[in-house]
Symmetry: C2
Subunit: 364 residues, 2 copies
Amino acid sequence: MRTLNVTLKNHSYPVFVGAGTLAKSGALLAGCGFKGAPIVISNSTVMRLHGKTLLAALEKEFGKTPVIKIGDGERFKSHESLFGIYDAMFKLRAGRSSWILAFGGGVIGDIAGFAAATFMRGIPFAMIPTTLLSQVDSSIGGKTGVNVPQGKNLIGAFHQPSAVIADTEVLKTLPARELASGLYEVIKYGAIASKSLLGYIEKRLPEILKCGARELEHIIMESAQIKADVVALDEKETGPRAILNYGHTIGHAFEAATHYRKFKHGEGVAWGMIAALRYGREVGLLKETEADRLIKLIRGAGKLPPVKGIRFDDIWNALMLDKKFQHGDIRMILLNKPGKAAIYNGIEKDSLCGFLKKFLAESL
Amino acid sequence: MRTLNVTLKNHSYPVFVGAGTLAKSGALLAGCGFKGAPIVISNSTVMRLHGKTLLAALEKEFGKTPVIKIGDGERFKSHESLFGIYDAMFKLRAGRSSWILAFGGGVIGDIAGFAAATFMRGIPFAMIPTTLLSQVDSSIGGKTGVNVPQGKNLIGAFHQPSAVIADTEVLKTLPARELASGLYEVIKYGAIASKSLLGYIEKRLPEILKCGARELEHIIMESAQIKADVVALDEKETGPRAILNYGHTIGHAFEAATHYRKFKHGEGVAWGMIAALRYGREVGLLKETEADRLIKLIRGAGKLPPVKGIRFDDIWNALMLDKKFQHGDIRMILLNKPGKAAIYNGIEKDSLCGFLKKFLAESL
């Protein structure tokens, strides 16, 4: 097991990474100062696969532990689920000294974190992310929230967890597509901040895809460290934290244009990175060989659902609604070279529009 | 006009107090760094009385200013109203650079503040409280939230405003009962922290009740300063901030037991203070003459709806649900002397129970 500390201005917390940490979670959390049983927020899929291990670990330390389950899937990251959680918490007579443990992927982490942020004006929470994506992404940084009909994550709060436990063993039960989806996000960290991480993934891709414990521990630690460093610089995303959105601008538009049904979030990001790499080439950044090598790596991580057939207008409309496109000033994260990203403001609308039309027509 | 600075660890903001500040609000807010028109959140009653003055002041500085109205009254501090606000904000194409101006009493301030805390994970907001109660209480300290069927303010967040403007002129349109309700809270500040404020209110009560500008400015400044000092010590209410709850423990129970229909919040606090003063006498704190003098002052501020007829069981059940009564450890704020409060833990259940039965039977 390795430990990473996320150090923020008013709050720091440990991230424990390694095989078998789930079975030790009770002791790890007690070591972080948590007292009394948490309220676990999870879903049936995760509880069926790993609930027994979790509850054994928690109950040994904290006694009888209640579990609140919501539906499995992005569409359950809703106000309705949030109310369901509040109601269940009131029934459990939760109070200001209660704490929440989010046990699941990004949906669970985001909604459980938002429940913690808003229940009696905020109670502590910890996270045991069970997907590669949530282990490297949403469990670090304190973004919590729910989706609304107008878009994803539009209602939320910044609320930092007090501990994160990432068990690599748990990832063995992930469907291949889900694992790849997280791996795209890992590749993103390499692309924006670490050439050596990119090299490592290139070299160890087969072991990673087979859930090798050592390889997963390494890429999770590296990714979490990169995210933690960026978040420490800019907790509320007023500036430099935006580079974490590499691949997300166009990626989100692909997801939104297909009503979040065609692509998993990581797959959207993968397409967004491919588009950003090609667009970067078009405006003269990055070498052709560098862009191609990165695209090859992305393609090698899994099979992406095709973008062909998506209507350009749907993509464009989604892009214009993106909260990153403030006051019509189009901003994109682009790579100067592999491992080095920068924020580019004032992207020309016509140039991006023309590029995207071509990209949609040419990509498979 | 006088200005007070609320100085918190990561955030400070000015409170402008004085007659005619509403008409200058545009310039005052622009001076605080706000750019672009705010989204005003208010209700029809306040807009009818003071909307013209507000919009003239804002539009001179910021141009066309949209207003979102919710219903007037505590029952509109609900999730339904909150969704209505979000929806209206999306229709107005609000984004991360938007800001909210809460224009109304405590209900408006709390719900508009919570909307600001959670819209796109938090946008800035300013407050123009239009009741004496909200000028001295909810506009300082960053508590925001909504009511749920299980209780008041159980869902919320700490989110500090970036400016507060308290116009004493506006209070002239308040019903007498509403003014008294705020005055009880002012007396509370005197009771817990300032003998001189108590003396001032005793001496100038007639002028205060006639909305004398100088007197109101003085008591608002004193109250806001006391609250700001306590909040600066304990922003998230983990400790000493609890003394602000003087009169609130029993007061809330009176409000809840009568389904928030019989008493205004300040009236509940007034009864809570009277009960706490009598209970303090019973356990040997405070002199009889001091308690009587304070009760006389509270009674002089307005006519309180009687507590006689409220069932003891309803009060007791409400008390046991109070989030301040954690793990059965009953905690009350009591006065050692006028102007000096302290937190008393481990109040004996039987003693409080017996006292309350007697109090209900004897009080008018």
